[in-house]
């Protein structure tokens, strides 16, 4: 089960910088960064190291199974971002 970025995300991108496998997008050098509502973790790339959880200054990152009830759907939101081509921008 991968990690998931939920609603509190403020696009601080400390997570992007610490992720060892570049699984978090869009990064600040991407054209999509300015308009992005939040950042997203690619569940297909995530290796579950958990480094992003501590790096996030707003505690927006959860293991998929630990998402609070009101943010449970963010697992699918993170997955959908990449299915519709999110990391290609």
């Amino acid at each position: 089960m991968a990690y998931v970025i939920a609603a509190p995300c403020v696009s601080d991108f400390s997570c992007v910088e610490i992720c060892p496998v570049n699984a978090i997008h869009p990064g600040p050098s991407s054209a999509a960064f300015e308009a992005a509502e939040q950042l997203y973790i690619d569940p297909g790339a995530c290796i579950n190291c958990g480094a992003c959880v501590e790096a996030c200054p707003v505690s927006a990152i959860y293991e998929a199974g630990n998402l609070p009830e009101r943010w449970k759907h963010y697992a699918e939101v993170n997955r959908q971002y990449f299915l519709q081509g999110g990391a290609l921008a």
């Binding site: 609603a7 995300c9 300015e34 200054p57 927006a60």
Partner: protein, 453 residues
């Protein structure tokens, strides 16, 4: 290698991320004096982020505090650059200066009746309920049944949510006490969030819209848009826009309760006039069509058809706007300090040596907290390149010389210790009421606590 002495003006997200960038550079040693007009730091993270978004405010403890409490950084609060110290003096006292003063103004609707009591800027109402000392005494009248928020960005949704949230839930947040009092006697039953364009062009973000699915005692309606994908648009709407439509459809199809408050997302309407005798009572709204402009972008075009809505509270949430800093070139069209990539430039284009800017006052009032991190890095990269080439202001005064001048200009300046005393006081009062903090909302109380430490 010489230590660079930097003044950063503004202790909000922009200024703090600029300091993060400066402290991380290996090329030189740095000392930072952080000037802030209020006795408290954090800018809009304290006075703008909604009280029911406590997670976002963790950025102060988990990110910005590392900069604020770094031994190389000295906090100088309750001092107004531009008033207590001139811009030209700051350039003389320091090697480099970074202006991160954000936006103290807002975009007006330019309507007849806009100055009637009961019509105000979202910026002012947000500052009121977040306890900003300059807005705590605002005369807020919530005795009407309907409020209209003009604009549908995240700030508009914050306001709609705060006006509709049950008091018991708000009492657990860090919302200002005087706002709780005002809301306890509120008669508002309906909040209309009015936007010029259609639902497919809505400015709010998905996480903010989704919050309404978990708001007790609130029905959501949509007017002016049937939420059907316009012909010819199939597959062209963004993923984010499609999600918003799906959420709106879910929200409007929930069973309604006549006892509930109502939030109405109204689309394709432009305010044309506010009327009332001694305060705002009605808004006349023109109905819009969407027409593609020369670049193919859909624009709202008002028709002749209008309708009227009764409303006793009208909040314009169509954007913050920067105001000029005396002594710095200002681009009045964009509402920013004139700059190129963060280097402040004169009207003719010549760079002011050693003067930089970051955040909303540099790039305009857009983006979220983290947008400022990328922005600050660009500014500091330019600053470091210039420093390496020997371009800067100064020669800088040393720390003690500056302290003597600061104490002369503003004897009541607040140090880091003073802010930490305010912070402790707020959290301690909060603990007694099972809230994260109870904010001090006027300058004299803050100074009393700061000076007692």
């Amino acid at each position: 290698m010489k230590t660079m002495r930097v003044a950063v003006v503004g202790a909000g997200a922009a200024g703090m991320y600029a300091i993060e960038s400066l402290l991380g550079r290996r090329e030189f040693a740095v000392e930072v004096d952080l000037y802030e007009i209020l006795p408290t730091p954090w800018g809009l993270v304290r006075a703008g982020v909604a009280p029911d978004h406590p997670e976002k405010k963790q950025v102060c403890d988990r990110q910005f505090n590392f900069q604020l409490q770094d031994p190389r950084v000295r906090f100088i609060g309750n001092l107004a650059v531009g008033r207590d110290i001139a811009v030209a003096e700051l350039s003389q006292w320091y090697d480099t200066v970074i202006y991160a003063v954000g936006a103290t103004g807002d975009i007006r609707m330019a309507l007849p009746g806009e100055d009637l009591p009961g019509c105000l800027a979202a910026r002012e109402f947000v500052a009121f309920y977040n306890g900003h000392p300059d807005f705590s005494a605002l005369p807020i009248d919530l005795s009407c049944e309907r409020a209209i928020v003009v604009g549908n960005g995240n700030v508009a949704l914050d306001i709609a949510r705060i006006l509709a949230t049950p008091i018991a839930a708000l009492e657990k947040t860090d919302i200002a006490e005087h706002a709780l009092e005002a809301l306890r006697s509120s008669h508002i039953r309906e909040i209309v969030v009015l936007a010029r364009r259609g639902a497919w062009q809505a400015a709010f973000n998905n996480p903010e819209l989704e919050e309404f699915e978990h708001l007790a005692g609130v029905d959501v309606a949509v007017e002016g848009d049937d939420l059907v994908e316009p012909g010819g648009m199939q597959g062209l709407a963004s993923w984010e826009a499609q999600r918003k439509i799906d959420t709106l459809r879910r929200l409007v199809s929930r069973p309604k309760d006549p006892g509930n408050k109502r939030i109405v997302f109204r689309f394709l309407g432009t305010p044309v006039e506010l009327t009332g005798s001694d305060k705002v009572a009605q808004m006349r709204i023109a109905h819009n069509h969407l027409r593609p402009d020369a670049q193919g972008r859909l624009q709202a075009v008002p028709s002749e058809q209008t309708s009227t809505l009764d409303a006793g509270l009208v909040l314009r949430a169509i954007g913050y706007r920067g105001t000029p800093m005396p002594g710095l070139p200002f681009d009045a069209v964009r509402g920013v300090i004139r700059n190129v990539q963060g280097r402040v430039v004169e009207d003719g284009g010549a760079a002011l040596p050693g003067v930089y800017t970051t955040g909303w006052i540099k790039r305009g009032c857009r983006g979220i907290i983290g947008s400022n991190r990328k922005c600050a890095r660009e500014t500091v990269d330019c600053l470091v390149d210039d420093w390496a080439m020997g371009l800067g202001g100064g020669p800088a005064l040393n720390k003690d010389a500056v302290l003597a001048l600061v104490s002369e200009r503003q004897p009541a300046w607040v140090s880091l210790g003073g802010w930490l005393a305010i912070d402790r006081h707020e959290r301690s009062t909060g603990r007694q009421k099972q809230r994260s903090r109870v904010k001090l909302t006027d300058i004299s109380s803050m100074l009393e606590v700061a000076n007692a430490h």
